[in-house]
Amino acid sequence: MLKVTDLTINFSGLKAVDSLNFEIEKGEVFGLIGPNGAGKTTTFNMISGTLKPTSGAVELNGRRIDGNYMYQTNRLGVARTYQNINLFRSMTVLENILVGQQSRLECGLLAAVLRTSKQRKEEAKAVEKACDILNFVGMEHKENSYSNSLSYGEQRILEIARALASDPILLILDEPAAGMNPTEKNQLADLVLRIRKKGITILLVEHDMKFVMGITDRICVLNYGKRIALGTPAEVQADPAVIEAYLGGG
């Protein structure tokens, strides 16, 4: 489904990501791990369109998406969450999720101005869908809250809900468990598996090893921008190169 070929990005001489190769199958939960500064978020940024790679390609179901604007990649079915929470603070929970549906709604300016019945129906359906998503992630009854009245864990879940609103085929989660307590992490793991059951492919970056190993089908390990291992959690845990990267040599 997602194929990354020789992906490289060069920041004035520093290769943050160097000839990265991996392929994600449809429906799997794929992890990207590595020590700090290994290039994980940079890779995400290149896939979602925030950054343009210096060379190499990113393909979604055979179609090149590297160098796209983020909204173009979103329209093609890729949605993401962020390391730092990027919610729309002045909007309610419901409205945040409605924004997530931006690329799936059709009515334009004229319809909005005239409040045609088509537009009103579409809005009503969008609200209904947003409520469904809230139920799915376990945040029902919070529609009209503002994000600053939510707990940190709930805010992260809201970001995921917003990402789900665009009906993605690939969901990218950038450190979704960061800052969560163990209960919240369990709920998150549960949510990720429920998302997978819906047929959505998931790519995630996480530092919490227990979380990652417990939830992913395959993992790619990065260090200094290069891939040093790729395989199932068990394979990766046993790989000497990985152990060295995390614990340091000698």
């Binding site: 909204y71 962020y82 919610l87 409605l98 931006q102 300016l109 909005a112």
Partner: protein, 345 residues
């Protein structure tokens, strides 16, 4: 029946309708000497407030909702005013060079559309730039418009200005403002209501959410599928339409236009109105336009001090209450909720 029920369904709509009713009834009663004393000056004031409400609401769309700075909106005011006059005046513009004129209402509309087109063109490069540059670009735009109308004297009579601007009449009903602005007030009121309703519709739709998303967090908005460039252009175009239309209404009310009205200071006055009243909501621009217009007229004798007062106003508002007056109500209701709230789940 459904539609009527819908209109009265929410408390907000009820309040809105009540206010509109008052705005219609009181002037009628005044004119017929039922209450207060008839004063022609009041109608002029009300017309100005209405015109500036439309203009400030337009600025609100680009600044309050989409978060883009514009220090040059007087430029669109200028396009609307001069555009409408040149299209409808028999001795200038279209009338002078082609012997045809448009009826004033049509010319206002056309001028507003022209302003929207220019707004979109302006937004093309502007949408890519860091906002500091946007502020410079908009100032340059304002200055350029001013230079155009001031220097192409053959077209616009330069600094002397154009007099005897045609009066509006619709289906024979005249909105002549020479003797009294009473009739014109109802015309302006009508358009204020229309433009405010349109603004509400836009703001509560997918488009409006896109604007707010851009203001709050551009990267996240991009990631959610909002085409940033296209939305910024749309925002500018809509805003320019509003301000241009207001400019047209202004020209046909005053009956005379000259470049002096469209200087940088006018853009600053729009910003003062918006900041004072509060941006990002429906009533803020109305409050701002009303209060500042009254101050403007009140300070006529102290006109030297006017801009100084506005400068101090803006400073105080930004330092202490950037949400403006309309933001106060949110603060107050938040305060009440917190102090009386007690336990929350």
């Amino acid at each position: 029946m459904e539609k009527i029920k819908q209109i009265f369904s929410s408390k907000r709509n009820l309040v809105f309708t009540a206010v509109v009713a008052l705005l219609i009834l009181i002037p009628v009663m005044m004119e017929n000497n039922i209450i207060f004393k008839q004063s022609k000056y009041v109608y002029l004031l009300l017309c100005l407030i209405g015109i500036y409400t439309i203009a400030t609401s337009g600025l609100d769309i680009v600044f309050g909702y989409t978060g883009q700075i514009s220090f040059g909106h007087a430029g669109f005011f200028c396009i609307g005013a001069y555009g409408s006059v040149l299209l409808s005046h028999s001795e200038w513009g279209l009338g002078k060079y082609m012997g045809v004129t448009l009826p004033p209402m049509a010319s206002i509309l056309t001028a507003a559309v022209l302003a929207a087109v220019i707004g979109a063109l302006l937004a093309f490069p502007a949408s890519k730039l860091v906002f500091h540059f946007l502020s410079l670009l908009t100032i340059a735009f304002n200055q350029l418009m001013l230079l155009v109308v001031a220097n192409f004297a053959g077209l616009t009579n330069g600094y002397v200005g154009i007099t005897r601007v045609p009066q509006i009449s619709i289906f024979g009903f005249s909105f002549n403002t020479v003797s009294s602005k009473y009739n014109y007030y109802f015309l302006v009121l009508f358009f204020v209501i229309v433009f405010l309703i349109i603004k509400e519709n836009i703001v509560h739709s997918r488009i409006g959410r896109g604007f707010i998303a851009i203001r709050e967090n551009v990267m996240a908005a991009n990631g959610c599928g909002v085409n940033i460039k296209s939305y910024k252009i749309m925002s500018f175009a809509i805003s320019a339409f509003y301000v241009g239309f207001a400019g047209g209404l202004y020209a046909h009310m005053v009956g005379f236009i000259s470049p002096d009205t469209f200087v940088q200071n006018t853009s600053v006055i729009f910003i003062t109105m918006l900041l004072f009243g509060g941006s990002g909501n429906l009533v803020g621009p109305v409050i701002g336009a009303a209060v500042i217009t009254v101050i403007q007229e009140g300070l006529q004798s102290l006109s030297d001090y006017r801009m100084l007062v506005y400068g101090i106003f803006i400073l105080i508002i930004i330092l202490f209450q950037p949400q403006g007056i309309s933001g106060l109500s949110k603060d107050i209701s938040g305060f009440i909720r917190r102090s009386g709230g007690g336990k929350r789940a």
